[in-house]
């Protein structure tokens, strides 16, 4: 469970991105995907960066399974919360396999052979095991995304943040991604930050709507979507 209380964030230039965010993101076997939606400039990306601990909020707190994120060591935090970036940020100088094994070997101190075995398993699960020796520049958008997800998942995080995962995908790969996320649910819960409403409808049961740096609604997807569309029309 991720519990956010009274979160505020203001950029150095004085723009307040998050005014007061309080949400409980709880997951169970039945419900392992939550979406955070909102129009551009609503603060959802800032929220994701706070959740990923890339930004330090001015006020408020984030608790991961009851432990304040701020009190966790870097290693401890990163083992619990993974990130898949909007532009993926695969390492171009490493092949797919090395992209996956870098952290297990260098951070978790895993044996190189074990790390490669686990990486292979993970690549099989996401369906790109034929690409182990390829370099990121040789992959299609959908393949690269699966590799990026696999790279985050080999570290077995409890929570995985996905930033606009469908922004570079066509409709078929988007559907394939939705199926993949459905298949992957095991020990990892997904928090998806997006404005792709059809995708959210497909994968998530509950969603958080953010606007102007505040939580407008945290409810079942259909209700949130209704509200979101209504507000967009009003604007």
């Amino acid at each position: 469970m991720i519990k956010v209380t009274g979160l505020e964030f203001t950029y150095p230039d004085g723009t307040t991105a998050l005014a007061d965010i309080s949400i409980d993101l709880s997951f169970d076997d039945d419900e392992h995907i939550t979406a955070i939606v909102g129009p551009s400039g609503s603060g959802k990306t800032t929220l994701l960066q706070c959740l990923a601990r890339f930004l330090t909020p001015g006020q408020g707190s984030i608790e991961i399974d009851g432990i304040p994120a701020i009190s966790m060591s870097e290693a401890q935090f990163r083992s619990k919360v993974g990130v898949v970036f909007q532009n993926l940020n695969l390492f171009p100088h490493l092949n797919v396999l090395d992209n996956l094994t870098l952290a297990p070997v260098e951070v978790a101190g895993m044996d190189k052979g074990d790390a490669e075995r686990e990486a292979m398993e993970m690549l099989e699960r996401v369906g790109v095991s034929n690409l182990v020796r390829s370099y990121p520049s040789q992959l299609s958008g959908g393949q690269a995304q699966r590799v990026a997800i696999a790279r985050a998942l080999v570290l077995k995080p409890d929570f995985l943040l996905l930033d606009e995962p469908t922004s570079a995908l066509d409709i078929n790969t988007t559907n394939a991604l939705a199926e993949l996320l459905e298949d992957l649910h095991s020990s990892t819960n997904f928090i998806i930050v997006t404005h792709d409403i059809p995708f959210v409808r497909k994968v998530a049961k509950r969603a958080v709507l953010i606007q102007g740096g505040r939580v407008v609604s945290h409810d079942l997807v259909e209700k949130v979507m209704h509200l979101f569309l209504q507000q967009n029309e009003n604007r």
Partner: protein
């Protein structure tokens, strides 16, 4: 008849001058060494030496004049027949023989260093060698800085003109408004600029270059030592003739840095002994006598192809060695410097930034002199090769630090973030993610820096490192064929730089293909 007079007779005989000619030249304006203005570069070096002296005199305890076990003397190796390289590439000539004779009289081993004329006094003053036995004329100006021995031979300044084209030129006065050549830093240059301001004086690094421009028609005449000019023209079969009487007489002495009175006295004794034993007279016969031009050891203009090839290859080996070591040291310095330059503002950044800008904003040649002449001032005795490597390493590091910095800048910030998200420590983010990409991005520019550095090694010849350019100059001083040998040297460089440049180009294309630094 004292010895000076006897030698003077030999000179006269060789030149075909009458006593009246000589007397006339004695009465001319330049019969006594006058006040001379040192050349700009030379003056600069002296100012530097002075600055260093002032800066570091309190650090380096002044070493009391002690007698060396080995006599180290300097000459140019480009002044036939006084000093030049023979067919086997060995230093030889009148001054070389005098050096050996003096050392033998003193009971010391001899070490002869070939160095550039325009830095030779600065080298002496900074303790690079004990004395110069390189046909240096005794002048009042020089005597302010160094102590001269008694003269060891006497010669004079002579105007030479083109034998075929300029039959109307009878003396120096016929050349007003025309171009006359002289070697930079030699007394002839000062004589011309001071006494014949209407003549356009053109300065050169060596007489070989002067001959080339005489043949090209860029010069109407040149002034050089009567003995040297006559000898060289004859041996190189150059179409020049002496015009007019001796312009003035010069006495050649052996200068030493001040503060070595014992050594000076002993050298004077040695010279006296060499004169009275007939050694000097023999030398004059050997080098300037009627048989001199037929003497195989003396004959210039010839050098076996094998010797030439060996000299050039040996020189290029030194060039490549200096370049490789400088590159390695420079790169090792450049990486941390580049990281600092890429980092957040800090006092360290300010220091590195200023240093890099200073090195990039000043000529390598000056840096080279700075290290070469400056190091002895702070009590460091380093060889010319070491000086060259230190200078080129620092210079290369400054340029490569900028390359490293821009390589680091070209790595998208998302890469760092992604690595952090995987839990990598700051060091490991750099080691495994940022640096490998920055390095790949920087490779083309690093290769270009390497090419520039390789070319900069050519400058090292000025501090008497026997790299390929200096070897070529030595060969040219014997063969008088600058075009041919400079072209060969250029080709040698090109054979190395061309594949490097091609490689850099290919790598750059490959980088784009593999998706580096374009998002």
């Amino acid at each position: 008849m004292n010895l000076d007079d006897r030698k003077w007779k030999i000179v006269q005989r060789h030149l075909g001058y009458s006593d009246d000619d000589i007397a006339q030249s004695f009465n001319s304006v330049y019969s006594r060494p006058g006040k001379l203005i040192q050349s700009g570069l030379f003056a600069t070096l002296l100012i530097w030496a002075a600055i260093f002296w002032l800066l570091f005199s309190f650090i380096a305890p002044k070493v009391e004049a002690s007698e060396p076990e080995q006599l180290t003397v300097a000459l140019t190796g480009k002044y036939p027949p006084f000093s030049f390289y023979d067919q086997d590439g060995e230093l030889t000539g009148f001054d070389v023989d005098v050096s050996r004779g003096v050392a033998q009289e003193l009971g010391l081993d001899i070490k002869i260093i070939a160095t550039e004329w325009d830095g030779i006094l600065a080298g002496l003053l900074s303790g690079k060698f004990d004395a110069i036995i390189g046909s240096m004329a005794i002048t009042a100006e020089r005597e302010k800085q160094v102590d001269f021995s008694r003269p060891y031979y006497v010669s004079g300044a002579q105007l030479f003109v083109n034998a075929e084209n300029d039959t109307e030129i009878g003396s120096i006065n016929d050349l007003a408004g025309r171009r006359v050549g002289a070697v930079l830093g030699e007394t002839f240059e000062h004589y011309l600029t001071e006494k014949h301001p209407k003549i356009e004086t053109v300065t050169y690094k060596s007489t070989v270059d002067i001959y080339q421009d005489m043949l090209n028609g860029r010069l109407d005449g040149f002034v050089t030592d009567r003995l040297v000019g006559g000898y060289q023209i004859q041996s190189a079969k150059m179409p020049f003739r002496p015009a007019g009487p001796l312009l003035y007489r010069e006495q050649m002495g052996i200068p030493m840095a001040p503060g070595h009175p014992i050594l000076l006295a002993r050298i004077n004794q040695a010279l006296e002994a060499l004169e009275s034993s007939g050694f000097m007279a023999d030398l004059h016969r050997k080098w300037f006598g009627p048989v001199a031009a037929d003497n195989a050891a003396v004959r210039s203009g010839e050098m076996s192809n094998r010797t030439i090839a060996l000299m050039l290859l040996e020189g290029f080996g030194v060039t490549i060695g200096i370049a490789c070591l400088s590159l390695l040291c420079g790169f090792l310095l450049a990486v941390p410097a580049g990281v600092v330059l890429h980092g957040k503002p800090s006092p360290l950044l300010l220091i590195v930034r200023t240093t890099v800008d200073f090195v990039r904003g000043t000529p390598v040649l000056i840096q080279l002199f700075f290290v070469y002449f400056g190091a002895p001032q702070i009590g460091l005795t380093i060889s010319p090769v070491t000086s060259a490597i230190i200078t080129l390493s620092i210079n290369g590091a400054a340029y490569m630090a900028e390359v490293v910095r821009s390589g680091l800048m070209a790595v998208p910030p998302g890469q760092k973030l992604a690595a952090r998200a995987l839990g990598l420590s700051h060091f490991k983010v750099f080691r495994f993610v940022v640096w490998p990409q920055a390095f790949r991005i920087a490779i083309p520019a690093l290769v270009n820096s390497s090419v520039a550095l390789l070319k900069d090694t050519a400058l090292v010849s000025v501090i008497s490192v026997a790299e390929v350019v200096r070897q070529a100059q030595s060969i040219i001083s014997v063969t008088y064929n600058p075009m041919k040998f400079y072209f060969i040297v250029a080709l040698m460089f090109f054979v190395f730089t061309y594949p490097l440049m091609k490689f850099a180009g290919r790598w750059e294309k490959a980088l784009k293909k593999r998706g580096y630094a374009d998002d």
